[in-house]
Amino acid sequence: MSVMTEQDRREAAASARRKVFTHIERDLSFFEKMDDSAKEEFYRKERIRSTRERRAHKIKRGILTGIGLVIAGAASVLAIVPIFFTFLNSFMSSPEIADNYGVIFQSLSGHVQNGAQYLSKTPTLRLVPQLVTLDQYKNLLFMSPNYLFKFWNSILLVVPIVVGQMLIASLASYSFARYRRKRREVLFFSYIILMLMPFQVTLVPNYMIADKLNILNTPWAIILPGIFSTFAIFLLTKYMRQIPTAYIEAAKLDGATEWQIFTRIALPLCKSAIFALTILLFIDYWNMVEQPLVLLTDADKQPMSVFLSQINEAEIGIAFAASALYMIPPLLIFLWGEEYLVEGISRSGVK
């Protein structure tokens, strides 16, 4: 056995190593195995598969959107049908109404004398009148001035409250927003508590004070507490606190007086809130029932909202027109200020 020199050993090792590396057979990749035609085939299949998948996804999404649309549509129909129904039926002639709905008003809750008697007849729900007439409106507007008086009563109550409350609230909430000391915050908190109180609580004090001031059974008994209600202050303060102090500082540097800051900066910045609040307040007071019931004992001083509930069988001929007429002002206001309303509501809930 010949003795390996160091040199030989190294050379042998090196060549062995080289052999190891050169002799590993590399697996061909998935693509390299294919020839061109197979590749084409593969690409084609892949393309079909991906379009199919995309289409399935699209269909799934379409179905989901469809279901969503159906649900939202159903909700919208439920929301809008009573309104449409009232308006459309207000163009029916009185005999037609009596024919269609007479049974209902003979059996209004509490007046059922003989249930079996009515079983044979069910009311016909008719969206479109057979004969479109303006009879109801004619009767309402020209034959029964009573209704017009009630309508006028409603306006006389609501407009002063809304205007007054907005004026007082904008001043007060500016003060709450700018001057923040401990005692003010406590007062503001008590305003919030007051705002949250239901009528059941506040009506008693209202009644007491109206009695003391001798304004019971006059519109003032409703208007004055309405003007000083704290709802608008709560929301407006929330808004005014969002005005960056930098604006106010800048105005001060330019020599604006406090009144100018209020009228030229604070109020314009809160424009959408003021519009939204005006709409909300209008609706709320246009809708009121509790206060007039308790604070106004004379029937002819009461607003239309209370009166509409007392429509009886003899008057159903004009009931739909009266209801429709009563909802026209708020709906018009809604059409005019929807954007403001939505923005105002949206920002009131977000901190």
Binding site: A75, A79, Y101, S107, P198, P205, V289, E290, V294, Y326
Partner: protein, 309 residues
């Protein structure tokens, strides 16, 4: 020389302090001036009368000012009408508030999920809010009265017996439908705003991390929605206490037992001019209301701090 310097410095400081004080006073006077009209009105029409009724609630009657302790409260709390009225009012709130919150949230999420025509749906769903209840009562009567449309349908289609909805155990359901019809739109707009306020980057990064729709909803969206949920709950609660309006317009002074609300109780007391009963009733409700709102606020702040940690 240094002594003089110090003196003038002190004088300057005193001047500055005085002018600062004066400015503070001017500020106070100005903003108090802005607040005064409202404060006086609230004082005269709410705070003072509330104190008055607090006093009356401990008196025998409004004319006889003998102090009789909690007798009036006892009288009110043991009054059957008051107990059933508060039970009905609370039952209705317990039904109406969760439903109003949940359904409105679902609707808002539906509209926010990339549905076409979102703003149209929003407008339509907001419409009922604008309609005075008095105008819509007629329709509810057409549908739910004894010879109404619903009974007609159920009779013709299923041969079911007619049911006088407003005079049955389901009467609260009828009112509940009216309540939801009217309030869902408002609540939904509030939720839509809150959903839009959720930063989309966070949702996207959660999606990258493999969070599913449910996980994303409960872990992320709920956190951002929590304040709005509380706000909506409080607003719905207030509105649910106002439900007397609907009940009165639908059923008049003497509704079915289920629908006898606190306001009916108060109205009856008004017609009998029973001031001490009225006062103690109002005070009890005031306390309960403060408790409920306090608990809601407390849970909100607790919940908020929990989430932030």
């Amino acid at each position: 020389m240094p002594a003089e310097d110090q003196e003038s410095l002190l004088k300057l400081k005193a001047d500055k302090a005085r002018s600062r004080r004066r400015r503070k006073l001017a500020d106070w006077a100005l903003f108090t001036g802005y607040l005064t009209p409202s404060f006086l009105g609230v004082l005269v029409f709410f705070f003072l009368p509330l104190l008055m009724i607090l006093k009356t609630s401990f008196q025998k009657s409004s004319t006889n000012t003998d102090f009789i302790g909690f007798t009036n409260y006892e009288r009110v709390l043991t009054n059957n009408a008051f107990v059933s009225a508060s039970k009905n009012t609370l039952t209705f709130a317990a039904l109406a508030v969760p439903l109003a919150v949940l359904l409105a949230l679902l609707l808002a999420m539906l509209l926010n999920s990339g549905l076409p025509g979102k703003s149209i749906f929003r407008s339509i769903l907001l419409n009922p809010m604008m309609v005075p209840v008095a105008s819509i009562v007629l329709i509810w009567q057409v549908f739910f009265s004894f010879n109404g449309v619903i009974n007609g349908w159920s009779y013709n289609l299923f041969g079911l017996d007619k049911l006088d909805w407003l005079e049955s155990d389901y009467s609260q359901v009828v009112i509940l439908i009216l309540f939801l019809w009217k309030n869902l739109g408002y609540n939904m707009v509030l939720f839509l705003a809150a959903l839009n306020n959720i930063p989309s980057e966070i949702l996207e990064s959660a999606m990258m991390d493999g969070a599913g729709a449910f996980k994303r909803f409960f872990a992320i969206k709920m956190h951002y929605l929590a304040p709005t949920i509380f706000f909506v709950a409080i607003m719905s609660l207030i509105n649910s206490f106002k439900i007397f309006r609907e009940v009165y317009l639908l059923t008049g002074d003497h509704p079915y037992d289920n629908l006898y609300m606190l306001q009916h109780f108060m109205n009856n007391a008004f017609t009998h001019l029973d001031y001490s009963k009225l006062s103690s009733g109002a005070i009890i409700m005031c306390v309960v209301m403060i408790l409920i709102v306090g608990i809601l606020f407390f849970t909100e702040s607790k919940f908020d701090s929990d989430v932030e940690e």
